[in-house]
Assembly symmetry: C2
Homo-oligomer: 345 residues x 2
């Protein structure tokens, strides 16, 4: 059976010339990155993949070592005007207040109720400490299965205010193509996100084809215990195990993957160390950073290159300068992406 | 090309009867578990794999969810009279003392020097706290690459005193067969070890075919920083992130894998929670526990079933009773394993 399916046997059956013609035609037809404009970003990706997958070259990387890591918010999907998981946390507050009415008058829960009533400016009142308290109140103290069920339900119902679509449809088509291209080239694709690992794992497989075990994120502890029926289960605890931002990204990559990425992509200062760490490896490496410079089709923010400043996915001029100096690819949404969303015409 | 390689096209070329005969013969020839004696343990494994991989049945498990987790010490390889990693730590002490001579007279380093001189009874003087101090001194404060290099060098040179072989050859052949059988059946195989994650990752791929990202173990933190050349690197820190023993095993499985195992195997009280957690899942599940009852070919210890007591890989009678009650498979090394090591005749 092995002989029949081999290239040489097929060639004998079909005639070698006919087979080679077929293969060449098939290759020419399939651009793996059709939503990318021709340019240095696209070219850099194809060159990296070719360099690392061509046997017999000095830059060849054996398949088990082909690791590609992607930040999520702002790199694989929209994260403006606010991170999707923060929206989940905020929109989970009314149910929490219903169960514990005294919270209605207690900040930061009372502040969230104001925001949800339409006072969007009130969001600026929330500090990091408030957010941590809100995450602890809405996303811990329950079994991992209950959390998964609630997050899944919210994701099915919630809509982004601008596009009126589920958040899970706001992924960038060029990045989806890149994930598929890398996997087809023997790469294992990972999400390495500052977002909550348990939250992203709920949808990563259906949305990106990335299974839960390939999601590295900010992670809290769990506590093993037994239910009334004697069955064991894990409870989500408000205890931080890994803050997967900044230096936490390479540290999290070592903890969860144990190999240095060959390719990494991010979009903000929180990704800097992951991009540095990737780029510092020997052999062919590619670090990429997405610049949100398309106010019309998505959003424009930096403040690199004179773009408006933001607190959500900050891309400073210093980071832009480092990208230039280190030879990272800056992906311009405006110039490098032909299409941004799958739902666009 | 797709049509040519398909079953029906092959069948047309070869003639359906001839092809089916070939397939049946191939199947009959290949027992995936030749080192297992026929009996309930082997039968239970084959039944679990058949149940979870037969499409259209209620027990079918889609491929991405086929997770199998294995303890390492005493489950996949020999861990007597002492864990291999402890041997690594002890045997790393002389080089440490050479670099820092004042340690020669400081316990626990001085105690280790006595042990290495042949005073094996002195090993009983080492407390858990001593071991932690020794691990911190020999396995942290260096870059992850330096640690990997040193561990790899030791593993190549060190010999087990009984078999006079590298520790990496002391893996159980029946378990190696089981790992391969599971992978051939679409399972992702993981090590979930109380041992050090970074240590096991050094050899897991060559020894078990399990890549570093599928090793969950007791893990310390790392610290991201920059060398004199400006290049970033990770330093191993003496800070415990995950104690992957007891309840830490299901907690570690959630952190690193995010799915409940379909099959789990262990050999000691430190594996109890992983086996319970696996068994408590819905559908077909299999929890297995190795009983070391073969003093002649390997070792005999429990103290379950009246076997000698041990501090290294304790298997209590209470654990044995729980295995019976919960329907876990107890693997008797003596009765279930035809061959234990690949190097045996």
């Amino acid at each position: 059976m092995k002989a029949i399916t081999s290239f040489s046997t097929l060639a004998r059956i079909l005639g070698l010339g006919a087979l080679l013609a077929l293969c060449t035609a098939a290759q020419a037809q399939t651009d793996p990155l059709p939503s990318w404009n021709d340019g240095p970003a696209k070219q850099g990706i194809v060159e990296l993949v070719t360099a690392t997958t061509t046997q017999g070259t000095a830059t060849f990387v054996p398949e088990p070592e082909r690791v590609a890591t992607f930040d999520q918010d702002g790199t694989l999907w929209v994260s403006h005007p606010m991170y999707t998981q923060v929206m989940y946390v905020l929109e989970s507050v009314p149910a929490l207040v219903k169960a514990k009415p005294h919270l209605a008058k207690t900040p930061p829960f009372s502040t969230v109720l104001e925001i949800l009533k339409g006072d969007h400016a009130a969001i600026a009142k929330l500090t990091m400490y408030d957010l941590e308290e809100l995450v602890a109140a809405t996303s811990t103290g329950m079994s991992v299965e209950t959390f998964q069920m609630e997050a899944k339900k919210w994701l099915a119902e919630a809509r982004d205010p601008r596009w009126k679509k589920p958040y899970t449809e706001l992924t960038y088509l060029p990045m989806q193509e890149l994930l598929k291209y890398l996997r087809a080239s023997g790469y294992k694709t990972y999400i390495v996100t500052g977002g909550g690992q348990d939250f992203v794992r709920v949808y990563s497989e259906t949305v990106y084809g990335i299974p839960p075990e390939q999601v590295v994120g900010t992670a809290g502890g769990t506590q093993y215990g037994y239910g009334k029926d004697g069955k064991p289960f894990l409870t989500k605890e408000p205890k931080l195990l890994l803050n997967d931002n900044d230096a936490g990204k390479p540290e999290g990559i070592h903890l969860m993957i144990g190999r240095r990425p060959v390719l990494a992509a991010g979009n903000s200062t929180g990704d800097r160390q992951m991009l540095e760490y990737t780029n510092a490896g020997s052999g062919a490496r590619l670090s990429m950073i997405v610049l949100h410079d398309d106010a019309e089709r998505e959003y424009a923010y930096g403040p690199a290159q004179g773009l408006p400043d933001t607190k959500v996915g900050t891309f400073t001029q210093a980071l832009y300068d480092e990208a230039q100096k280190q030879g990272w690819t800056v992906i311009s949404m405006k110039n490098d992406w032909k299409r941004i969303f799958a739902f666009e015409q």
